[in-house]
């Protein structure tokens, strides 16, 4: 079962992958092994495909570095659920095929290490202490996600979803 990794407010992308471990500093094959290396030592080794990150306000603020999200994708992170997202991080998640979902109470309900399941159809993140309501994404973003990301969507359709 997916495990929840819980973070606080204003988690910036320098915490996710510090600039000194950018792909072009350490190589495309290594950068993801530095995910949360300062903020959450051990994360890159312990995270399992499908695990879910849970956060507070302004998740992913700071630098536009897509490799922060690419590292999460490479490690198989299944979704990010937060009170709110920084705008570039949100776009990067959708573009790379990671659901970025807003939830007002997930960060209060879910404890770090909880076994969780994301029920997108029901709009719920299910956790041992209760279910957190998750806001559905706009259809524009949903269409991109269901294709597996914006590149896959554009390859398939040749243009953006209709607005």
């Amino acid at each position: 079962m997916p495990r929840a990794w819980v973070f606080g407010d204003d988690l910036d992308t320098d915490q996710m992958v510090p600039g000194r471990y950018a792909p072009f500093m350490v190589g495309q094959d290594k950068f993801h092994t530095y995910a949360f290396c300062d903020a959450r030592p051990g994360f890159a080794k312990e995270v399992r495909p499908g695990d879910i990150l849970v956060g507070g306000e302004n998740f992913g603020c700071g630098s536009s570095r897509e490799y922060a999200v690419a590292a999460l994708a490479k490690l198989g992170v299944g979704a990010v659920v937060a009170k709110s997202f920084a705008r570039i991080f949100f776009r990067n998640c959708i573009n790379l095929g990671i659901p970025a979902l807003e939830s007002a109470d997930a960060v209060e309900i879910v404890r770090d290490g909880d076994d969780v399941t994301l029920d997108v159809a029901a709009g719920l993140l299910r956790a041992p202490r209760g279910d957190a309501a998750v806001r559905p994404l706009a259809s524009f973003a949903q269409e991109i996600l269901s294709a597996g990301g914006v590149v896959a969507y554009l390859r398939e359709h040749g243009d953006f979803p209709r607005v």
Partner: protein, 455 residues
């Protein structure tokens, strides 16, 4: 009409009347790409099945984020970037040492007012200095914009920031924007556009400082209203509706300091006086221009930075660097003991040129003080204006720059001596290259010729 500047621009470029909350697909007038994302951008284009960018004349490429290359891996990445630029026949390419992408984009006139520009860097908001809707995006968004010449945006709500009054001596627009960040917070302008009123006639550099720092409030764009570059249609409606309005009186503004590790943890300088620093960084797209270096030089000219403190100056572009050489500013900073880095991002993002060690404390004129931003996660970064930076370099502690700017020579020396004496011992005192030979020359001049030159 009730349209904000963002609504005016996005309605015009999308060809329909749009309001905050609407999704639009819009043409972009330029796409800006820099070295640190080029691999991912190229991979994105490849995955999209596009051999060629949509319009080579509208693409601007920069090597600035880790430049000149600090490691073989980075050097390889730069080599790949240069080959890509050549193969794509992109004429607008600025290699290492030319400067920070944002400074060049604005000062070399690549930012068309009223147009949408996508940049691969979060501080692409800077293009609002001349009335462009500049938005930072990730590598895949940039690759898509390069392939299609279009991007999608959610029309943002806007926050109106009005500046009134006049700055007093020793206070800068850096202090003004930090005061705004203090008010709005790091996510107070999330998804929004920050519209600046009352400052359209400021020098272009000050407007870059304002627009670029809107990124630190989570903004999608930051646009200055009424700049000399803007056409007449480029203004918000009189009855525009705003999410929030903030007014800052410049006349009563104090020097502002951001305390680590948050950009919105901002205090008046009085609350930070005496805080020791080890290294001072003057540079970045926020504060690496001639005027910033002149302000620092006005404090440092004819003096020497504190023996235990390092000062690193990185001009934001070659043009700014050469201007600072022409008027003697650069000479004054070097004579004061500054390390002069090649124009570019410098140590702002911790990849090259003067990164921080654990436990080191930096006073930076840049825009971010996150943990680990400039090197070690155990370093601390304070942010301030160029005046605050110069005084910190001189004394080794954070202090209010205004008394120094008003002091007589004797008073000035006394202020410096007092602050240096109060500073706890840290680091090691450095000699300045050239000092010893000058002393020897002086000594030999006093005692007559020591060596007969016989050739």
């Amino acid at each position: 009409m009730t349209r904000t500047l963002a609504e005016v621009i996005l309605s015009r470029v999308s060809g329909r009347d749009v309001r905050a909350g609407d999704l639009v697909i819009v043409p972009v007038s330029r796409v800006m790409v820099h070295d640190s994302v080029i691999d991912a951008v190229m991979a994105g284009l490849r995955d999209l099945g596009r051999e060629q960018v949509w319009d080579t004349a509208k693409v601007c490429v920069f090597v600035d984020h880790a430049a000149p290359a600090p490691t073989p891996v980075v050097a390889d990445s730069h080599r790949v970037l240069r080959e890509w630029v050549r193969e794509q026949r992109i004429p607008t390419f600025y290699d290492a040492g030319e400067g920070v992408c944002h400074q060049i984009m604005v000062e070399e006139g690549y930012c068309e007012p009223g147009s949408v520009i996508v940049g691969s860097d979060s501080h692409s908001n800077s293009y609002g200095a001349v009335g462009a809707f500049g938005a930072g995006m990730g590598a895949t968004d940039v690759a898509v914009a390069l392939a299609l010449g279009r991007t999608w945006l959610r029309v943002p709500e806007s926050i109106k920031v009005t500046f009134t009054g006049r700055l007093r001596k020793g206070i800068t627009m850096k202090d003004a924007i930090m005061r705004v960040v203090r008010e709005i917070g790091t996510d107070g302008a999330r998804y929004a556009c920050v519209e600046f009123h009352g400052v359209g006639d400021l020098p272009q550099g000050d407007r870059i400082t304002l627009a670029g720092m809107t990124t630190e409030m989570g903004a999608k764009a930051g646009i200055v209203v009424g700049t000399p570059e803007a056409p007449t249609w480029l203004r918000p409606d009189r009855d525009a509706r705003y999410l929030r309005e903030v007014t800052i009186d410049l006349t009563t503004l104090e020097p502002q300091i951001a305390v680590p590790p948050r950009v919105d943890q901002v205090v008046d300088v009085s609350a930070a006086v005496g805080q020791p620093v080890d290294i001072v960084f003057l540079g970045s797209c926020t504060n690496g221009r001639l005027v910033d270096m002149q302000q620092a030089a006005s404090v440092l000219r004819g003096r020497r930075v504190a023996p235990h403190v390092r000062l690193e100056v990185v001009p934001s572009s070659r043009r700014q660097f050469e201007l600072a050489m022409q008027d003697g500013t650069m000479q004054a900073l070097s004579a004061a003991g500054a390390v002069i880095g090649s124009s570019g991002c410098g140590p702002c993002l911790g990849r090259t040129g003067g990164v921080l060690a654990a436990q080191e404390i930096c006073l930076s004129t840049a825009n971010r003080n996150y943990k680990g931003r400039m090197g070690s996660p155990d370093a601390s970064i304070y942010i301030g204006s160029p005046y605050v930076a110069a005084v910190a370099a001189l004394t080794g502690v954070i202090d209010d720059p205004r008394p120094y700017l008003e002091a007589t020579e004797e008073e000035f020396d006394a202020l410096v001596a007092r602050r240096r004496a109060e500073r706890p011992e840290r680091g090691a005192a450095s000699s300045r290259s050239g000092d010893r030979s000058r002393e020897l020359v002086m000594a030999s001049a006093r005692s007559g010729p020591v060596v007969e030159i016989d050739d």
